[in-house]
């Protein structure tokens, strides 16, 4: 390497900013070139002198910072920090937490209410199937079953036409749920028996919500909904799709 090509690199060499390859080249050249070695030394001394002078200057009496300056700044910085409760984000977060706190018990109550309702109806369904007289009115004719409930229930309901469907009406019976009369209808689908409970919409059941909810409890498919002031619950050991189809038939009949 020539002196000219080395010269351009000397500042970066002294500033320790040269890539290793160039660094080695500069050092090798300086070993055989006293002029460039002198340049390096002078630059290093200049750098050191600059640093010393710059430090002295800032520490000189004229520039010594006021003794309280740093503390004042620290205080100001502390003050200027926006308290957490003043930030919009905090308010949003607080709002979200409050909503969760308010809604969670309601949702949990609904969820637990629904589970309790299903558990109770499932027990009735199983007990009915185990009984030697599962139904009080034995008929596959909706025009026989529906009138049978007349005078026994404070409400009336429509039953679907099942002629073109795989479902078969076996009959019905009167049951009491939460001390209130309800119709229990038994349907059959390929040897599976399904119960449909129809009861009046009430405060207890309202708390569980009126939207259509499908579920599965202990292997039984369930579907619950509220329509025209009546609450319907379908329970059976058939598949969820079959339970849903029966639900659709009932919903269509109730319209």
């Amino acid at each position: 390497m020539t002196c000219d090509s080395i010269r351009d690199k000397l500042d970066a060499y002294v500033d320790e900013s040269l890539p290793l390859q160039d660094r080695t080249a500069v050092e090798e050249h300086a070993q055989s070139c006293s002029t460039c070695a002198g340049e390096i030394l002078a630059r290093a001394q200049m750098k050191r002198a600059t640093r010393l002078a710059a430090e002295n200057f800032a520490q000189s009496t004229a520039f010594r910072m006021h003794p309280e300056f740093r503390r004042q700044i620290e205080k100001k910085m502390l003050k200027s920090r926006v308290p957490l409760w003043k930030t919009p984000f905090t308010w949003l977060a607080a709002g979200a937490i409050a909503m969760v706190l308010i809604l969670a018990p309601l949702l949990l109550h609904r969820e637990s209410g629904r589970k309790q309702e299903i558990a109770e109806l499932l027990d009735v369904h199983i007990a009915t199937l185990a009984s030697t007289n599962p139904v009080d009115v034995v008929s596959s004719d909706r025009h026989t079953v529906k009138p049978w409930f007349q005078g026994k229930l404070p409400f009336t309901f429509n039953l679907p036409e099942l002629q073109d469907s795989p479902y078969k009406l076996l009959g019905g019976k009167l049951v009491y749920l939460e001390q209130k009369p309800a119709a229990q209808l038994i349907f059959e689908l390929h040897k599976h028996q399904l119960s449909v409970f129809i009861t009046q919409e009430s405060a207890e059941f309202n708390a569980t919500g009126s939207a259509l909810v499908s579920g599965n409890v202990r292997g039984f498919s369930t579907e619950i909904w509220t329509q025209a002031g009546l609450r319907y619950v379908v329970i059976g050991d058939a598949g969820a799709a079959d339970v849903h189809t029966l639900g659709d038939l009932l919903r269509a009949a109730a319209k």
């Binding site: 010269r7 500033d15 002029t35 600059t50 010594r64």
Partner: protein, 177 residues
């Protein structure tokens, strides 16, 4: 020069260890104690406010030096100096002497002469020399702080040092006469 990988931490953790250095640098820029204190205070407040825009893991020193520089430029003292700060790098400061072994007199230079020479340097030259030699920022960091490419930092630094040497040589020769 140490290699810095990246800074993480709270604002105070990153800024307060640099407090004295920022003040020293502010003194050099403003040449006045009160103005330097105002500059440091304003810089820290601005940096604290904008700390969310600082990318954790990037270079804090370069970031805060950039704020200090921009704050200085908008201050009264800075407006006067801005002509020099924005000056073209081809500003010629004669004589552009090369260091020869004979000019090793620099080694014997007292701090006071170097100080005076530094004060006489145009601000845009003084700035890069001090960021490099006093603040020990890398070329990359200076590039971030000053907002110019690394190549410009290198050429500006080289010219600044030549100018500084020229000023010192002139002083020495003047004293000899």
């Amino acid at each position: 020069m140490e290699t810095r990988i990246g800074d993480t931490g709270s604002f105070e953790e990153l800024a307060m260890p640099l407090f004295a250095r920022l003040y020293a640098f502010a003194c050099w820029l403003t040449q006045d104690r009160d103005a330097a204190e105002d500059l440091v205070q304003e810089t820290l407040m601005k940096a604290l406010k904008g700390f969310s825009s600082f990318q954790q893991g990037s270079n804090f020193r370069a970031w805060i030096h950039r704020i200090l520089r921009n704050t200085f430029l908008t201050s009264q003292a800075g407006l006067k100096a801005s002509v020099s700060l924005d000056a073209e790098d081809d500003t010629t400061l004669e004589p552009s002497t090369s260091i020869t072994p004979e000019s090793l007199f620099l080694a014997r230079l007292d701090s006071e002469s170097v100080e005076r020479a530094l004060i006489e340097l145009p601000v845009h030259f003084r700035e890069v020399v001090l960021l490099c030699d006093l603040e020990e920022l890398s070329y990359q960091e200076i590039s971030l702080a000053v907002g110019v490419p690394v190549g410009t930092v290198m050429s500006r630094l080289s010219r600044a040092r030549k100018a500084l040497r020229a000023l010192l040589t002139a002083k020495q020769e003047g004293a000899r006469r």
